[in-house]
């Protein structure tokens, strides 16, 4: 996980007058599991298609292992793609589907047979070789699409929402299966999803995108615990996002109440956004802190209770294993390390941010 395998340098792409990617820079390291995460239409598939060679950027270049491959056609690239809707060859058997790439490369029959068998075993579909794609379930077809790509031993596998069409249980099984596969093969995965949980579970690195801009790049922990802006905070999991004022280093005023925090260097009396995860909001007896409120909603969620608490005019989302019935008067405490301070949007990049609600 050291050297850069793929480098996207100043990539821009428009369709007509629609700017889809604007001056995007991104590198992908060898053996990395990198996920492009973002809402529908933010340009994830377009980015993947540029790496795969199905779309050429208007500006910028695509580097692979130090060579410029921007104008190389897809069949000459050392990457293989698992398409959003499988895209199997319906007129061929499963075995012929998997053998397609190897036949093109004129491998010997014995080699092809071995490989097909190995690939079918890898995706747990031993003995399906002579079936037709239409006779398989969605999850099985998905695994065939993966098998068809990996027999070619690509350096990089591009996966476009490969689990999007599957039900929850199957999706979770397949997530583990994909991670196992990746470890077994030791190759680089570039994975596209708009499911934040999937991204958090599977990735080494997450790239959060919105409207053609990269909002943040980081490990799942960094993205979750230290979102750089309100969009990321909102997109990754539930959160309370509060417009606040940084009084000075390590002190922030949230809803007219001063809270100790650990962030510095935001200046004095500067407007900022604060994000607090619902599981980090602690409910105490009334008047234990200066922020008093009342529980207005309560839902049982299995592992925890989800509550809405109105305090100083703001509706807080709170997750807690302790039950506070609707109407309970409480006060709110947040420990300093759980208060995440973010700059207000200033740059062009962050103006692209849009928050629902």
């Amino acid at each position: 996980m050291s050297n850069r395998l793929i480098d996207l340098v100043n990539i821009s792409k428009s369709f007509g007058s629609n700017l889809i990617l604007d001056d995007m820079n991104l590198y992908i390291r060898e053996n990395e599991f990198l996920t492009l995460l973002g809402p529908s239409g933010c340009g994830k598939t377009t980015t993947l298609r540029i790496i795969g060679g199905f779309e050429s950027p208007d500006h910028g270049k695509v580097m692979f292992n130090g060579t410029d491959i921007t104008s190389l056609p897809p069949n000459k690239r050392q990457v293989n793609t698992v398409f959003q809707k499988y895209a199997l060859f319906t007129h061929m058997t499963i075995a012929e589907n998997i053998a397609f790439g190897l036949k093109i490369k004129n491998k010997s029959n014995a080699y092809i047979q071995d490989k097909v068998k190995y690939a079918l075993k890898l995706v747990n579909l031993d003995g399906y070789g002579s079936r037709m794609p239409d006779s398989l379930s969605g999850g099985q077809q998905q695994r065939i699409a993966i098998a068809r790509a990996i027999v070619n031993e690509p350096k990089v596998l591009l996966l476009d929402e490969p689990l999007g069409a599957l039900d929850l249980k199957l999706r979770q099984d397949m997530q583990y299966e994909l991670i196992r596969l990746k470890n077994e093969l030791g190759i680089t995965f570039v994975y596209v999803t708009h499911d934040q949980e999937e991204a958090l579970t599977m990735s080494d690195t997450i790239v959060v995108m919105n409207q053609g801009y990269i909002q943040q790049i980081g490990t799942p922990e960094m993205i979750y615990n230290e979102p750089e802006n309100a969009f990321v905070a909102d997109f990754i999991g539930d959160s309370n996002i509060l417009p606040s004022t940084m009084i000075r280093d390590e002190l922030v005023k949230i809803l007219d109440v001063n809270f100790a925090c650990i962030d510095k260097n935001f200046g004095e009396n500067k407007p900022v956004d604060v994000v607090i995860r619902p599981e980090d909001v602690e409910l105490l007896a009334p008047d234990k802190t200066q922020l008093n409120g009342e529980v207005t909603h309560l839902i049982f969620k299995g592992v925890h209770y989800e509550m809405e608490v109105v305090a100083n005019g703001f509706t807080w989302l709170v997750h807690s294993t302790k039950l506070f019935p609707v109407g309970t008067k409480i006060s709110i405490y947040v420990s300093p390390e759980n208060i995440q301070i973010m700059h207000k949007p200033v740059s062009v990049d962050e103006e692209a941010v849009s928050i629902d609600e």
Binding site: A87, F89, A149
Partner: protein, 270 residues
């Protein structure tokens, strides 16, 4: 909630205009003038002049169908590749001549190709030697191709449109170049369209008598002309019906061929 009675008018229509005439063709085909059963009308196909007419019809339809495929396939690919807004207009332009009467279109070709027709007049005006294709098999093939080409284009175009672009991308992704992708993926996936196109061109070409009469003159007789003459000139309905039954066998064979090849039931006939 049984709405079967709704199909009643159709059944009536089918009985009146399909089943009864068909039954009559079979009746006349298997009887002589006195209404006595005979195989003579069927076996009449074996006479040299009938065999020749059938053979010529098969050959000309075969070549017309082949030429139609060769013209229609690239054309359909171009149409299918275009953006949607433009291509519906192009498809319309293509269908437009089909709305004009078949007879008129063929007559137009006659006028164009005649010895003193439009083309030869222009050639003459330019001091070029004239062409003499009117009243040749080539003129008949030209007429067949011109009239039936749209019936080949539309099913192939529909079949090509149905192919998921990502399936093509997948082939490229797996290392196939443009030609390999075409041969291994595009062509087989569009086969149902080609096959319905073949049926839709071959069957009417095989049975036509209008095109051969107008562009082939009186010397070139196709099986369709022979049958027509039995009905309209010789007044021998029995012989005409017998030969029609034989022709029907050939049509049924070609339709069976096409349904067998189109095993996925993805017929794209319009």
């Amino acid at each position: 909630m049984n709405k079967k009675w709704l199909s009643f008018p159709y059944i009536l229509w089918a009985a009146g205009f399909i089943i009864i005439p068909l039954a009559m063709v079979f009746y006349y085909g298997f009887t002589d003038r006195d209404g006595i059963f005979t195989m003579e009308n069927i076996l009449a196909i074996l006479s040299p002049e009938h065999r020749k007419a059938l053979f010529l019809a098969l050959v000309l339809s075969f070549f017309s169908t082949l030429i139609c495929i060769l013209l229609a396939y690239p054309l359909s690919m171009i149409l299918a590749k275009m953006g949607n807004a433009r291509n519906s207009f192009l498809v319309l332009i293509f269908i437009l001549p089909m709305w004009m009467n078949f007879l008129l279109r063929t007559l137009a070709w006659q006028t164009l190709l005649e010895k003193n027709g439009v083309i030869n007049s222009i050639l003459h005006f330019l001091h070029l030697p004239g062409i003499a294709i009117i009243n040749t098999p080539a003129a008949i093939i030209l007429g067949m191709v011109y009239n039936f080409l749209p019936f080949m284009v539309l099913p192939i175009y529909n079949a090509l449109l149905k192919i998921d672009p990502n399936v093509i991308n997948a082939a490229r992704d797996l290392g196939a170049n443009g030609l390999q992708t075409f041969i291994k993926v595009t062509l087989p996936l569009s086969m149902p369209g080609v096959i319905s196109g073949i049926t839709m061109v071959f069957v009417p070409a095989l049975t036509t008598f209008v095109i051969s009469t107008l562009l082939g003159g009186s010397k070139i007789l196709l099986i369709g002309n022979v049958i027509e003459q039995e009905f309209t000139q010789s007044g021998n309905w029995n012989l005409g019906s017998g030969l029609s039954v034989v022709l029907m066998i050939f049509i049924v064979i070609s339709i069976i061929f096409s349904t067998l090849s189109d095993k996925d039931g993805e017929g794209t006939a319009i």
